[in-house]
């Protein structure tokens, strides 16, 4: 269930991008972001199939 209606306008937290982390999954996310930063244009890919 979503939050009550009065809470659904709460902003998302501002999350700073850490330079390093010991968290293995976050580290993988950050590694992928470093690769993405080298791309001139980031596009949305289709990931689906009937």
């Amino acid at each position: 269930m979503t939050h009550p209606p009065e809470d659904t306008h709460t902003p998302l937290p501002e999350i700073p991008r850490p330079l390093h982390t010991d968290h293995p999954v976050l580290a993988a996310v950050l590694a992928e972001l470093r690769v993405r930063e080298r791309q001139s244009t980031v596009v949305a890919h289709y990931e689906d199939a009937p």
């Binding site: 939050h3 999954v25 976050l26 949305a44 009937p50």
Partner: protein, 405 residues
């Protein structure tokens, strides 16, 4: 080319009211090339063969070599015009391996030979796995064609809806294919898994890990405001609150299992994209975020279309009226449906622009915003589920980042 009389005419937005000359298009970088328009499976939930658009019946079952060559030449034309250094081709069906690996290899070779030498081509075939024998896999691997599998989990029970036309389960053959792929990690692209609320999310995730995919993409079942997700009731389009969030809850459970694993056992695209967006980066997937969609489809008869999932909305929804014999891909970039998916925030409904999670959610998958007549300028029918998941990921990510610093 196959076009249909549109028993459901194109809706107001974007087809009748969007000025497609008012933005600078982003070139296509992903080409979904249909190999075979039939499937040996008859999955009970398939949005293509069980959905409202039966246009596949009028198309040739297989793509002719001449169509492959023409499509490859059009792709090369697009690559040269926009100086692209990398494109992706996705070899799709139906079941693309229905006629063996030959047509898949021919199409991939045609594209690679047509594009300039400095353009890298990543080729992936997306299969149900039932025809992926050891010999087929060896040939695909040797040609540098990656293989993606469509499965609903890593147990037979999860795949009970995936049956052939005689009702026999696809799972035994698909499982063998997954195990073969696990032994070829360089060729294994990953698994697409459509969410079934009846399945336990932890069990689905754990069982998929046993198949050792490098990546998993959890897909929301295609639905819209006229045809709501399984297990939910119909509503008028809007940002309804409070709302039950069964799909958001399901995904949040899987997220926790993935995040708390202690090591990265597989990439989960949806979660990684949400985390990226929360950290201020653009998205690389259509499910969330505001990045321009850069995919075009070439059907077995050479028609240039938008992505297949649009067919879940109404008959003819994916059609552009263009084809590789007469038209360039640049022409397709000016189609209202294509342009609408490259507008970022300008393609969002008012409720989404005002929503605190709107820039991360991005309105969700465009397909899920559809309502008859008015079209796609609505929040996603999964709006509440997406907010539930995004707030959950934000909370966990924020916690982890602050523990790290």
């Amino acid at each position: 080319m196959t076009t249909h009389p549109h028993r459901h005419p194109h809706p107001n937005w974007p087809h009748r009211s969007l000025d497609t000359t008012a933005h600078r298009p982003t070139p296509f970088r992903q080409f979904v090339l249909k190999i075979h328009s039939r499937c040996n499976l008859d999955c009970t939930y398939c949005y293509l063969y069980q959905g409202p658009d039966q246009g596949w019946r009028d198309r040739p079952a297989r793509t002719a070599e001449s169509t492959m060559r023409r499509a490859a030449a059009r792709i090369a034309e697009h690559v040269r015009a926009h100086r692209l250094d990398h494109i992706r081709i996705e070899l799709h069906g139906g079941e693309p391996l229905l006629a063996g690996p030959g047509p898949v290899l021919d199409y991939a070779r045609a594209v690679r030979e047509a594009v300039p030498a400095d353009c890298r081509v990543t080729a992936t075939v997306q299969t149900n796995g039932t025809r992926l024998t050891a010999a087929v896999l060896e040939r695909l691997a040797a040609a540098g064609v990656r293989v993606g599998l469509s499965l609903d989990g890593g147990l037979g029970a999860h795949n009970a809806r995936r049956v052939d036309h005689a009702g026999r389960p696809a799972w035994p053959a698909a499982r063998s294919a997954a195990l073969r792929l696990a032994a070829h990690p360089e060729t294994y692209a990953g698994i697409l898994c459509t969410i079934d609320l009846a399945a336990d999310p932890r069990e689905v995730y754990r069982s998929l890990l046993e198949l050792r995919p490098p990546g998993v993409d959890f897909l929301l079942p295609h639905a819209n405001w006229a045809d709501p997700p399984p297990g939910t009731r119909p509503l008028l389009p809007g940002r309804h609150r409070p709302r039950p969030t069964p799909y958001g809850d399901w995904l949040a459970t899987v997220f926790d299992a993935w995040w708390d694993e202690g090591r990265l056992r597989t990439r989960v695209r949806l979660f990684q994209e949400i985390a990226a967006l929360l950290l201020g980066a653009p998205s690389g997937a259509e499910a969330v975020g505001l990045s321009p969609m850069a995919a075009a489809v070439v059907e077995t008869d050479g028609a240039i279309e938008q992505v297949d999932s649009l067919r879940s909305a109404y008959e003819g929804a994916s059609e552009t009226g263009l084809d590789v014999f007469r038209h360039s891909f640049d022409r397709a970039l000016r189609h209202p449906g294509v342009a609408a998916r490259q507008l970022g925030e300008r393609a969002l409904a008012d409720e989404c622009r005002d929503c605190p999670v709107g820039k991360v959610c991005g309105g969700g998958n465009y397909v899920h915003r559809y309502a008859p007549r008015s079209g796609f300028l609505h929040p996603s029918v999964y709006c509440a589920d997406l907010e539930r998941l995004i707030r959950h990921v934000a909370h966990r990510l924020n916690q982890t980042v602050h523990e790290s610093t």
